[in-house]
Symmetry: C3
Subunit: 268 residues, 3 copies
């Protein structure tokens, strides 16, 4: 894991050059923003959720991003089907368990996807992630109610239990695969005031996972890049409204040098 | 109802402090914008529409917002289910009858929701609102074709018939509960050029209703706040595109003093 | 076809004055952006997809726009139903075959819509359009993999085979009805970095088709107007994020004179 900042910069270059197709089955609220975030990063997003289409689409993809916001049962079935196809092709899967812990539908859907497919990386806030383990936590809506340190205490064990790399995001992000642990300090306090910033971070992890074999490096790099873009956007923003176009601009204009200098990935 | 401007300012403070969870079952076009409007105001939006999830989600919510744009039958079923749960918990329900009067599906859905749940406030343009009563009006698409004075003439009677507070919006907004009548003069002519401004106003009424027991004060306050934000946004906008981020910024940055000074709520 | 630039300017004036209702059955990713593009141009967008509503809504519309992104079978059924109604009323239909050629669901859906309804204009990239003909092409995701000249070589024949005017977009757009051919050179390289620019171009063609009887003139004019707005937006944008509000602003503020001067419609 020598120098994750430089590796992240190389991965961003690869995304911009190879434009990997990222197959998203995601929620209605964030589809447009997520697609624009992926495009600004250089990736090629596609959204497709029909049960009779997802296997075909997943087979073209560099990674598959599953997000359980605005969920219904037929979407779960499509996610599982796409996930099985991706698993069979060793295509990385990134899961965003939006609202897991808040309702049974979402908690069960996330657990089913984890059980029936090979999820590579799970990105969520601490409440969502912690609800996926054997012990039970309850969540108010889709907001985090646990701190990153509380998450860190059980994160490693949970990563092993789930067999996935976990990216637990908050003011400081924690990424763990059960063996290694990394923290990302990039980001800005305006980001939670924009809907879909978490979901878009997940999609960016998908883009990095399409070009980077180490899930820990992919997740940490995507979060550092996204957080750095947020920092740059905040310099120009007068509130969460003007923050959005500035964030997309920053994702598009950040250079390899910016990234190497600005990444704050802390290896444990 | 002494000094609605000060009361509105106090309500905004409460929203920012308590971050009430607003459960939205709304249309696909406006989900993202609505969520960003609610976040900028300080509320916590959640979108959830699955029939096997809405009761659980509604039980956490400070208010329930139902919006019938991009409707299908199964969404109506979910709205009724969520609405019954909210009613049983005395959680306020705000209905946006998008396109009522334009198609039978929408007119009937709005009427069914009103009949089967306890709708606290209905926000729509005059054509939509007037289509909900016993007399029939026909509408072209989702745009208003009646003036606010025409609406005022029958608004009070209709509010009594429907058992809800009505917020009939247009260049001047009319709010009536059948006993009292208030007009809101805030707003800007660019707002109808942005999709979802009406729907977002409805969602903001939901946020205010989560902290304010008087539906008339909640609706009038939300519309004045949203209209004032529109006025501030227009000062910076060069068209309806740049108006959007400026509007979100204004919702986020408006102070209590701005609101008390800028509110134009006219009590009859 | 004397002076398409002046005719386009007249058509834009008509859209702004008459505000034709454009009925869109389109994909989740682009609904909001498409609606804002149509509003900025002066049209009245409505999104409605329920099978028990689309005939009624289509009967009010100046044109019907069908877009097969984020497709499922029940949406295809609604599109066909709406399309048959529009055809019976001689209301123009514009089809956007998003991702045709990439999956069987999408290719078959596009072909079914073309076969069972009277599609006036089809707008897509070269890969999508070429996949609709008898010969088969394969596509990676939803991106074009053929150049406009390759498309031009078969475009005329394909337009005759399909009985529709084709608008094959790319760095240079090709519009052909099988007899006549026009190229549009307006546009900007940032446009493909924004999701929904293609879909919004299709919707604008719908707006022009609602006021212009010649499909070739409608398609070419809409694409020139949209491309010109893109050029103006790029002057102010610092990336694809700030490009979006600037594009909407430009659609709203472009004058008849701007359009006559700026249109680059090349008649063969």
């Amino acid at each position: 894991m020598s120098n994750l900042a430089e590796r992240t910069a190389q991965n961003l270059l690869q995304i911009r050059e190879n434009k990997p197709l990222i197959h998203n089955i995601t929620n209605f609220v964030v589809m447009s923003f997520t697609a624009n975030v992926l495009l600004a990063a250089g990736a090629s997003p596609v959204m497709a959720h029909a049960e009779n289409e997802v296997e075909e689409m997943a087979s073209y993809a560099g990674s598959l991003v599953l997000n359980i916001g605005t969920l219904t049962d037929n979407w779960v079935a499509s996610m599982v089907k796409a996930g099985k196809k991706a698993t069979s092709l060793q295509t990385p899967i990134v899961l965003d368990p939006v609202g897991a812990g808040a309702t049974n539908l979402r908690t069960n859907a996330a657990k089913q996807i984890i059980k029936e497919t090979g999820v590579t990386i799970i990105r969520g806030n601490s409440s969502e992630i912690l609800s996926l383990g054997s012990s039970d936590f309850s969540t108010k809506g889709v907001d985090a109610t646990h701190g990153v340190d509380e998450a860190a205490a059980t994160g490693g064990r949970l990563a092993k239990e789930l067999g996935s790399t976990l990216a637990i995001t908050g003011p400081v992000d924690l990424i763990t695969d059960g063996e290694r642990e990394v923290r990302v300090e990039n980001g800005h306090s305006l980001m939670p005031y924009v809907t879909g910033t978490g979901c878009s971070a997940t999609a960016l992890i998908g883009a990095f996972a399409a070009v980077e074999k180490d899930p820990l490096a992919a997740a940490a790099g995507a979060l550092a890049y996204f957080g750095l873009a947020g920092e740059k956007a905040a310099e120009k923003a007068e509130g969460p409204g003007s923050f959005v176009p500035a964030l997309i601009d920053a994702l598009y204009t950040i250079t390899v040098d910016d990234l190497i200098r600005g990444c704050r990935i802390i290896e444990a």
